[in-house]
Symmetry: C2
């Protein structure tokens, strides 16, 4: 059976991040469709709008179905042009903004770019400071400063520590350090000594031996490091360690970096330092 082909447009005055995030979370609820995504950020003048109108109508012809258009456009003139296209528009602003106005007894500002726009100096510095902290405390560097960390992720090589720390820093302003558990630690089930003083900040990342094997194979094919038996051994060892020392830990096999980060925040009761 041929899958239904549908084109999806994300239209925005600014970055398009909101339109995409919202559209994506709705569309992942539908399986058997072949999607084509077209992102149109910075759609801020009439000429661009006319071009997009043609693009939408062209997609309708090609697909044999009208496109889905997710919009966070604020400019009513631009929206008017888009509405002339043969498509189904999901207008995130219009749908909610009137009820919010009514609830707050206040008209909205109709200012594009507010959501990702003018940054506050304080938030900027917190974010940069967090990123700098993450970069300076990746992979066990400078453990003497772990006392200043909000959290210290631990796990064997390729367990996802670095990307998670970067995401925690960038997205939430969290000072996240990480420390690798290595072969040297494995003869006994003991915490590496440098971690003892920050035990309450430790959080373990684990995954299935099969997934670890798969990831390591990509990096060093057919090495001892990547072999399944080695991965099984390391994972068994680190999970015993986490349990013995009551270190909270998470199996990341089936979840994304965003989700891992949100779960860590939730479980550790960490307060995010940045909003929006």
């Amino acid at each position: 059976m041929n899958r239904q082909k549908r084109t999806v447009f994300y239209l925005s005055d600014r970055t398009g991040i909101t339109a995409e995030t919202l559209g994506h979370s709705l569309l992942t609820q539908f399986d058997s469709i072949e999607w084509e995504f077209i992102n149109v950020p910075f759609l801020d003048n009439i000429d661009k709008a006319r071009t997009v109108l043609k693009q939408i109508n062209h997609a309708t012809e090609c697909d044999g179905h009208r496109p889905l258009v997710f919009s966070t456009l604020l400019n009513p003139e631009i929206l008017e042009i888009i509405k002339q296209a043969d498509c189904r528009i999901f207008d995130f602003f219009e749908t909610f903004i009137r009820s919010i106005e009514e609830e707050l007894h206040q008209p909205f500002a109709r200012m594009a770019g507010r959501s990702h726009g003018l940054q506050h100096h304080l938030a900027y510095f917190k974010r940069i400071a967090a990123i700098n902290y993450v970069l300076a405390h990746d992979d066990g560097i400078n453990p003497k400063n772990f006392a200043e960390a909000d959290i210290v992720l631990i796990g064997v090589s390729r367990s996802g520590k670095t990307p998670t720390c970067l995401y925690l820093g960038l997205q939430y302003g969290i000072a996240a350090a990480n420390y690798p558990l290595t072969q040297d630690d494995m003869p006994t089930i003991q915490l590496p000594q440098v971690l003892e003083s920050v035990k309450s900040k430790l959080f373990g990342l684990t995954l299935t031996p099969a997934q670890l094997h798969f990831i390591r194979q990509e990096r060093h094919p057919n090495s001892q490091y990547a072999c399944l038996t080695q991965c099984q051994h390391e994972i068994r060892w680190q999970e015993s360690l986490f349990r013995l020392f009551n270190i909270p830990y998470l199996d990341t096999t089936h979840i994304s970096i965003e989700e891992i980060s949100a779960i860590i925040l939730d479980r550790c009761g960490l307060k995010r330092q940045l909003y929006g």
Copy 2:
């Protein structure tokens, strides 16, 4: 005049990223309100729902206004409990999912966590590869590999190169390198030699001298490096360089890392490697 105080709840079965993105983009359109944000991710059982119900009603009493509740909850039983609270609910799924079902002639899956959930191996590897590339090519490291970069950001110290590269890697899977323009380059207006072969990939980051001064002061207070005259000199020099060599560049003074990244993607016609 006292500002209206309003509590906002973000309720989700999973990370809460979608609910927050929606709420935040709408609420930034209203100025004179004092917001309190309460994020409730992983709201996945009846007991937690009852606790949140109480929290919402408590906020209504304290604020003298009912809270705004942005929900991406999929579980109807949990939603039913929340609906008993004295609040205004903006139910993201319920609002859009029926029209999308109708448009696609297909029922939705009602599977929580799809939007940020099960990752595809390919996307995972692209993402990790991009992050590794960024980390290995930060601040002018390994310029001999710049040929493999999707983009090379250039700018003086503290112009925002590193966080932008990290965001491009994490969010879009872009292999972003960066190279600092330093005092050593400034006696003449010439491109540093290592950049000549990748001229078509260069993108400049600039900002106002006052903002650069402000940022550098935070790092090295009252240094020669941070003084306003020095910042003026460096910014004037780098903007001349960008113009002389036709290097596209962006003034980042008033925009966020998300916005800088989206603009770079748009201007350079770079294709994002990751969705969702």
